[in-house]
Assembly symmetry: C5
Amino acid sequence: MDIATLGGLVGGLALIAWGILANGLGLGPYIDPPSIIIVIGGTFAAFFIAYPLPKALGIGGIYGKSFKNPVNDTATIIAKILELANTARREGLLALEEGAGDIEDAFLKKGVGLIVDGTDPELVKSILDTEMSFISERHSESRGMLDTLGALAPAFGMVGTLIGLVAMLQQLDDPSSIGPSMAVALLTTFYGSLMANMFFIPVSKKLEIRSNEELIIKEIMIEGLLSIQAGENPRIIEEKLKAFLPPKVRESISPTAGAEAGAEG
Amino acid sequence: MDIATLGGLVGGLALIAWGILANGLGLGPYIDPPSIIIVIGGTFAAFFIAYPLPKALGIGGIYGKSFKNPVNDTATIIAKILELANTARREGLLALEEGAGDIEDAFLKKGVGLIVDGTDPELVKSILDTEMSFISERHSESRGMLDTLGALAPAFGMVGTLIGLVAMLQQLDDPSSIGPSMAVALLTTFYGSLMANMFFIPVSKKLEIRSNEELIIKEIMIEGLLSIQAGENPRIIEEKLKAFLPPKVRESISPTAGAEAGAEG
Amino acid sequence: MDIATLGGLVGGLALIAWGILANGLGLGPYIDPPSIIIVIGGTFAAFFIAYPLPKALGIGGIYGKSFKNPVNDTATIIAKILELANTARREGLLALEEGAGDIEDAFLKKGVGLIVDGTDPELVKSILDTEMSFISERHSESRGMLDTLGALAPAFGMVGTLIGLVAMLQQLDDPSSIGPSMAVALLTTFYGSLMANMFFIPVSKKLEIRSNEELIIKEIMIEGLLSIQAGENPRIIEEKLKAFLPPKVRESISPTAGAEAGAEG
Amino acid sequence: MDIATLGGLVGGLALIAWGILANGLGLGPYIDPPSIIIVIGGTFAAFFIAYPLPKALGIGGIYGKSFKNPVNDTATIIAKILELANTARREGLLALEEGAGDIEDAFLKKGVGLIVDGTDPELVKSILDTEMSFISERHSESRGMLDTLGALAPAFGMVGTLIGLVAMLQQLDDPSSIGPSMAVALLTTFYGSLMANMFFIPVSKKLEIRSNEELIIKEIMIEGLLSIQAGENPRIIEEKLKAFLPPKVRESISPTAGAEAGAEG
Amino acid sequence: MDIATLGGLVGGLALIAWGILANGLGLGPYIDPPSIIIVIGGTFAAFFIAYPLPKALGIGGIYGKSFKNPVNDTATIIAKILELANTARREGLLALEEGAGDIEDAFLKKGVGLIVDGTDPELVKSILDTEMSFISERHSESRGMLDTLGALAPAFGMVGTLIGLVAMLQQLDDPSSIGPSMAVALLTTFYGSLMANMFFIPVSKKLEIRSNEELIIKEIMIEGLLSIQAGENPRIIEEKLKAFLPPKVRESISPTAGAEAGAEG
């Protein structure tokens, strides 16, 4: 569970509610079901026009991903690759098959499989690069869906406000209704802005950062796998892979792996 | 028929209509033919300035495409390519001519034709790449037309509102007409927003996604054709082509094709 | 004469005029010479700051181009290149000098001249590529000028409206003048929007499409010239050049040229 | 002196002044020193946060550049390069040292110096390319400063207007002050818009065009210097360099230089 | 301490305060704690949704960086590299180990270490390039966080204003409260604009410029290290590295280093 996503969402909504209550009117005047239906309904109607049905229906799962912590930890993956490199050096590439058993990451597992099969290094690189570029493509498509929602929500908020303003202007003869009518008209813009800036845009941003992290891990895997296949010294592999990490993270993996690699190198 | 496009459009409009009726004024005050003519007319007048006549007139066909399901299915295409690969392996490249008879896709057919003619692999790749890049160009031009419409509609909505506001302000002496006049003035902005966010922008998005899917299929075809021409093992071809697919889709084509390829490999 | 540009412009303005007249006030209140001068004058003053004098003065010619049909027709150019290819095959590269006499396009003529002079193919390609990239550069600079005008016009429309609003607010004590004053203030925004969305932005778009078409023709010429110089079979040249065309257009040039090429191949 | 920049600025401001005077209130109500200070001060305060002090202080010199005509003329530079090419052909590369004496352009002078020193061609190209890419970088940084100012000015215009509106709304009980107070509030938006669209954005545009012209001249110099070093025929050098020019400009340099080159070729 | 950042911030806020006080109402009506909480709280709630917790918490340190002057000075670094080049020429690559002792920059130190270890030049370049591209990546991620805050602040400013407007419109029956209520409603927009344009956007800009400067220094280091490893003449190394500097800065390092290099060359 990614507590930042949940905490930000809950905290943000609580804050908005507190801001509303500070006006002394209660939450009542800020909740207008028809307005909510127009903004959410219009946004998702346009969203279903924009995306093929199977993709559009996947939005829930995509959204849910931002509440989960990422599975892979760079340090663990590098340690695993160095372990594989040591095995390969000691016992040959075929010995990797055994060690591959407990690899959970499908991408790394596939790469090890290709190496064990004796696939040509160029082909290994080409297959894994293609796979990575498609993962990147899928991630950016997912973010694109949230960005589309983030653009549609304020647009339908404005459409709703225009509907309300026209209704209000047609009934100007009753002065006492002007205020409340216009208040209701503004609610759709309020909902649209809030949806975009609290629910869609920040989550798209988080998925972008997660995607970048995941792709760096995939790059580390490819680099590591090719180095293993080329029979490089684990110490040099470690040096290469650590260049992918921010300086602070490097130290956390250095000692043990380095020692192992040193003993083997 | 792409039910998502149609459903989204019908659902969205129904929702907007329901939102309007919720105001208790009926649809009447929201339908103003002169305003409709100004927004649609102005948008399309500028559109015809922006695009050469033959292209501008093709907008209907382009728009219609978003209501149809795409013809090609990746799994079918990969299966077909693997079938061709097996044929070529078993009976030689010339034997492809026969198998090419029932290929519906013009791009794949052309590629097979080039191979059968014994065209140099570099030239095959160059011709198909050029063709693909022009298909991509044409798709993005089509989307550009919808994006242009999506930008012009709100602009002419605003132009219409300014026309209406000026008229209203010139007649401020009759207070009873202010409300309805301003309501009418706002209608063009309402129409422009709705057209852009319901009709043009989401459809442009859908065509973009369709285009991406189609181009991936073309890339698979090129990769497959070149591999066939190079006489590669069908099992390796399958491995390469499957890297273009999302993990879930891979399993759906694996069994039969794999078995065939395995028998031949 | 490009009737779409002219028709769109005339039709669009007629429509706006009709929309104004529908308000029953006549065109009078919508025409305010000082407002027109502020918007057009401010826009072009900033435009002359933005562009060096010789370029800025060329805007008229650039604008006029959007009213003319493009000179080159792809099919004609391909036919001409295939004719040159046949001549070169039959009578040698030097024989092209004669055939070059009736080439109207300066770019193609220059390329044929380079070939006849026995220029090194690499140099031919490099000279023609440089030339093409500068043509592309000049086109995009032209479009940039229209885009700049399209951004400045609404900005000075807003500046004019602010000038008018300040004047109106300073004289609030005369209620009868508020309406007309504010109406006049809004006119500059109306002019700015109309200029941008009817005169500048769509014409920039049209020039972009024309430029793309012209550059494809130039690419076809380069590809064709290099193939002729390399002594390639006209049939293969035809195949290569036709990949640059949309499928429908291909058929229109195929028969005769194909027959000729076939006879020679 | 670039009369277009100065003329556009003076003309544009005169026009705005005329537009203001047409309201019959005089310039007085449009000049509010506190508002001017807020917009200019806020804009430059943020500007000094955004740019390191030495760069921020250089904005005056950058701005001044848009009032000066560019030093280099393409035709003169090409003629100079062809002259150098002829000298090199006739008397050898070392003879260039003498001819380099009267070269004013530091970039060209440096290039000639490198050639005379017998520097390896690859290194000459790499040094000049690096230098050119840094010139381009510095130009775009300069433009970036003007663009930043062009974005900050309207933002602080709006901040000023909000300050004024809040003050006005707090004193609604005095109806006679509402109009003038709101007029003053709007002035900052007016100043911000005018500054951005008259002083910052167009000047950034002009510097962009100047930069492009200067970089093309640098490219011509590099191309010419490398050709001279390679001992190419001046006539071919001329042909190559002229491809960098628009067709019309070409004729202006052709006769004399061509004759010289012809005599030498 | 970067006095421009601090000075701009203090000066800008003082100016805004002065502008407010010029209205004669004091700062009181411009300070509304609930509004401040809504804008800051909403902005940071969305910010915590957008960024993983460890990154989001690092925003303070990132922000603080814009108040510090950069550590590295290009001229010092070039002088240091030339000194290393001279040492390497005189006493061999291994002698660098000693000289590396007083290098403070971790990147340069690592590069020298790799050279001393006799690492293959290709690998040195690949490791340092990877490291540099990740530094660039981290910098742009940091800026991205400030840009996100700069976009969220005005959005939540508008959300706050909508909340206030709805409250005001619901209580229109008390005319005396309309002004102050709407004034308060506008305050959140004021806060959001000020935060974005004074605190977030300019600081992001400054970090961008700092990052560019730092990356140029890293590029100089890589270029210098590879030249040292290749055993190039210090005079040529100096020439190459100086191409990275603006002309004015070049002179400041030329004399001494040049003399040294000259003596050694």
